[in-house]
C-alpha cells in the first residue's frame, strides 16, 4: 500500500498535477482504497489550514510586496554601495550585502531573486562583469532570504515539527552572516582572477547620507526581527508589525503607495499565500493517511538502521536533502519529508532548531540546482540567461554553499550560540 501511494503521488506530480492537489488526490485514492470515510478530507483540510502560526506567511509575503512596491530597495542599495563598493569586485559585494538587507525583510528567496536580478544583472554587466557571473551571484545570494530571518520555509518547518519559529529565526542569523561573508570572499577571489573593478571610493559623508535616507527601511528589520528576539511579540505579530511599518513608510514617507495599488498588493498576497497553503492542506490530508498507517515511524526505523556513526548519518541526511532539493520545491519538501526525518534527527540527538537551519540551507541549495530550481529559473527568466550560462559560475558558488552547510552541520554552535 505504501508503494502504491508513493507511485501514485510521483505519477500525478510527473504528469503535471499541481503538488498540492496531487497530495490531496493521492490521499483520497489511498483512503478510498482502504475503506476510510472520505469526509476526513474536508475536515483535515480545514483544520490543517486554520492556524494562527501559519498566518505569519501571508503577512511576511505582504511585507515583502510592500517593500518592492516602494523605494525601499533603492535606498538599501545606496547604503550597500557606500559600505562595500570600494572593495575589489565592489558591485559583487554590493549585490550580496543588498541581498542580506533584503533578506531581513523578505521571507522568500524567489521574491528576492526576481527583484535583485532585474536591478543588478544589467548594472554589473555595464561595469564589465560577465552577465553569467552576475546572474549566478544574484541567484545564490537570494538564498540568504530564507536563512536570515524572517523566513517562510522556517515558518513551515516550525509548524510541521512544532518547533518555536522565533528560535529558528534567531538560529538563522549567524549561518546567514557566514553564508553572506562566504559569498563576498568568493566574489573577491573572482575579482582578483578576472580583474573586476572597485565600484566607488569610500566616502564617509556619502555613507551618512545613504544611511539617513534608508533609516526607516533599516528600522523595519530592527523592529520586526529585534522585537521578536527580545520578546515583544510572537512571530505572527512581528510580521503584522512589519506590515504596519511598511505601510506607514509607503503612504507617509516615500509616498509611492496608493490605495489602488494596495488593493492589488493584497490580492497578490492572497494568491501567493494560497500556492503554499494548498501544499499545507494537501499534506494535512496525506499526513492523516500516513499517520493511520503509522508510516513515519516505519520509515524513520528504516533510515535509522543504515549506520550508527552520527557523522556519517548526518552526511547521509544532508545528501538525501540535497537530492530531494533537486526535484522538490522547498515548501513541499519541508511539509512532506521533514516529519519523516524528524524522529531520526531526534534519535541522533540533533537539536530540532539546529536541524531546521540545516534543512533550510539544504533546500536553499536545492533552489539553485536543476531541474527544479526556483531561484535559478527566476533569474534565468528575468535576465534571459540560459541555465548552463548561469551554472558556469553558479557551480562554484554552490560549492561555497555546500561548505557553509557542512560547517553549520558539524558546528551546531553556529546556530545555537545564544542558548
Amino acid at each position: 500500500m505504501a508503494g502504491f501511494v508513493l507511485f501514485l503521488l510521483l505519477g500525478l506530480i510527473l504528469l503535471g498535477v499541481p503538488v498540492g492537489f496531487a497530495l490531496m488526490m493521492t490521499a483520497a485514492a489511498a483512503m478510498a482504497a482502504s475503506g476510510v470515510n472520505l469526509l476526513v478530507l474536508p475536515v483535515q483540510m480545514f483544520s490543517g489550514s486554520k492556524s494562527i502560526v501559519l498566518l505569519a506567511i501571508p503577512l511576511f509575503i505582504l511585507m515583502g510586496e510592500l517593500m518592492s512596491a516602494t523605494s525601499i530597495s533603492e535606498r538599501l542599495i545606496a547604503v550597500a554601495y557606500a559600505l562595500v563598493g570600494w572593495i575589489r569586485g565592489g558591485l559583487s559585494h554590493v549585490n550580496v550585502l543588498t541581498s542580506m538587507f533584503m533578506a531581513e525583510m523578505s521571507g522568500s528567496a524567489v521574491a528576492d531573486a526576481a527583484v535583485m536580478s532585474k536591478i543588478f544583472v544589467p548594472e554589473m554587466e555595464r561595469h564589465g562583469y560577465p552577465r553569467s557571473f552576475a546572474g549566478a551571484l544574484t541567484a545564490v545570494s537570494a538564498t540568504l532570504g530564507i536563512i536570515i530571518p524572517p523566513s517562510i520555509p522556517m515558518v513551515l518547518y516550525g509548524v510541521t515539527t512544532n518547533t518555536s519559529i522565533r528560535d529558528l529565526f534567531v538560529a538563522g542569523i549567524v549561518p546567514g552572516l557566514i553564508l553572506g561573508g562566504a559569498f563576498m570572499a568568493a566574489s573577491w577571489l573572482f575579482a582578483l582572477k578576472e580583474g573586476h573593478p572597485r565600484a566607488n571610493r569610500f566616502e564617509a559623508p556619502a555613507l551618512g547620507r545613504a544611511l539617513w535616507r534608508a533609516a526607516v527601511p533599516l528600522l523595519i528589520p530592527v523592529l520586526v526581527v529585534g522585537g521578536l528576539i527580545v520578546g515583544v511579540y510572537t512571530p505572527t505579530e512581528a510580521a503584522g508589525i512589519g506590515v504596519l511599518i511598511a505601510l506607514a513608510f509607503g503612504f507617509l514617507l516615500s509616498r509611492d503607495l496608493t490605495l489602488a495599488r494596495l488593493g492589488g498588493i493584497l490580492t497578490a498576497t492572497a494568491r501567493q499565500t494560497a500556492v503554499v497553503m494548498m501544499i499545507v492542506a494537501g499534506s494535512a490530508v496525506l499526513g492523516q493517511y500516513l499517520a493511520n498507517e503509522q508510516l513515519p515511524q516505519k520509515i524513520a526505523g528504516m533510515l535509522g538502521g543504515v549506520t550508527d556513526v552520527w557523522v556519517v548519518e548526518l552526511l547521509l541526511i544532508n545528501l538525501f536533502l540535497l537530492v530531494l532539493g533537486m526535484f522538490l520545491h522547498a515548501s513541499a519538501a519541508i511539509i512532506v519529508v521533514v516529519p519523516l526525518l524528524m524522529p531520526l534527527a531526534r534519535q541522533l540527538g540533533i537539536d530540532p532548531v539546529h536541524f531546521g537551519v540545516i534543512v533550510c540551507l539544504n533546500l536553499g541549495i536545492g533552489q539553485q540546482t536543476p531541474p527544479v530550481a526556483s531561484v535559478l529559473l527566476t533569474v534565468c527568466s528575468t535576465t534571459g540567461l540560459k541555465i548552463e550560462q548561469v551554472m558556469a559560475y553558479g557551480k562554484w558558488f554552490i560549492a561555497v554553499m555546500f561548505l557553509v552547510l557542512l560547517l553549520v552541520t558539524y558546528l551546531p554552535w553556529t546556530a545555537l550560540w545564544w542558548r
Binding site: V43, V159, I229, V230, G231, T234, P235, A291
Partner: protein
Amino acid sequence: AEPIEVRIASHVSELAPEYAQSVLFAKKVEERLPGQFEFKIFPGGQLGKESALIDGVQLGVIEMVDVASGVLKLDSKLGLFDLPWLFDSREHVERAMAKGLEEAVRRRIESKADVKVIGIYENGFRHVIDSRNPIVEPADMAGMKVRISGGKFRQGVFESLGAVPAKVAWGETFTAMQTGVVDGAEAAIYGFYEQKMQEVQKYLSLTKHVYTPSFLMASKSFFDRLTQEQQKVFIEVGREITEQSYRDAAALEDRYLADMKGSIAVNEVDLPAFQQATRPVYQSYIEANGKDWIDLVDAAR
C-alpha cells in the same frame, strides 16, 4: 472473524491522563471480549487537532476519541466547566459526577452531537505557572500577562482578576515565556511538565481555577455497527474504569509535581478568596443556561 479495528485518538500527548484512559479502556474491553477488537491508540494529535477530532468522531471518520475542553463548545450549557473555581478538589468532582452531573452531561452531549459518550473522566485542574510572583490571592494576578486557552468565559475570569489574557499558540508558549511576551501560562500540570516549563518559570501556583473533564466518545455510526453484546461491554467498561481513571490521573499529577518541585516553587492558593472574587462571572451563565447543574455541584460540596 477479523477483529474490528478501533482507533482511539487524542489531541494530547502520552503524558496526559487521556492516554492512560484510552489504554485502560482498550485493555478492559480486550479482557471481556478477547480477539474481537484491534485497538490502536493515537495520542499527540497524530490524527488531528482537537477540533478536527471532535468533528471527525461526529462524522464517523474516526471510531473513538478522548478529548477535553473542545467538547464544551458543543453546547453553551456545557460551558459549566469553564466557570472558575467551580470545584474545590478532585473528590468534589467525583462526588458531583456520581450524584447525577455525569449522567446529565452525557445526555446533553448525546442530544447535541452524533456521538456515544462512553465515559467522562479527568483532563485535570488547570493551574498557573509564571515568572513574576507566586499567586496566592486575587491581587497577585493584577497586570500579569497570562497565556490562556479556551473561550470567552476563561478570558473573563482572568480579566476580572486584573490579568492580561493572551492567546499564544501552545507551541510558541515556551519561547513566549522565555522572551517575556507572556509572564506565565495556565494549563494542566501534564502540559507544563511535557514542555518542561518549570525550567524557565519560577512559580507554580496550584490555582485550580478550572476543572476540565475528558470525554471518551465513540462515533454513532461505529457504535451502531457493534453487536448488542459489544455495545453493552463498551458502556459497562466505560463506567467501570471511571474510578480507576481518577486514581490514575491523581497518580500522574503527583508524579509530575514531585518531578517539578526540584526546579520550581510550588504554592497553594487562598481558594475561597478566588471563589468570591469571581462569582459574578456565574451570572451570565445562569441567565442563559439555568441553575440546575450549578446546584448539583454545590450540593456535592
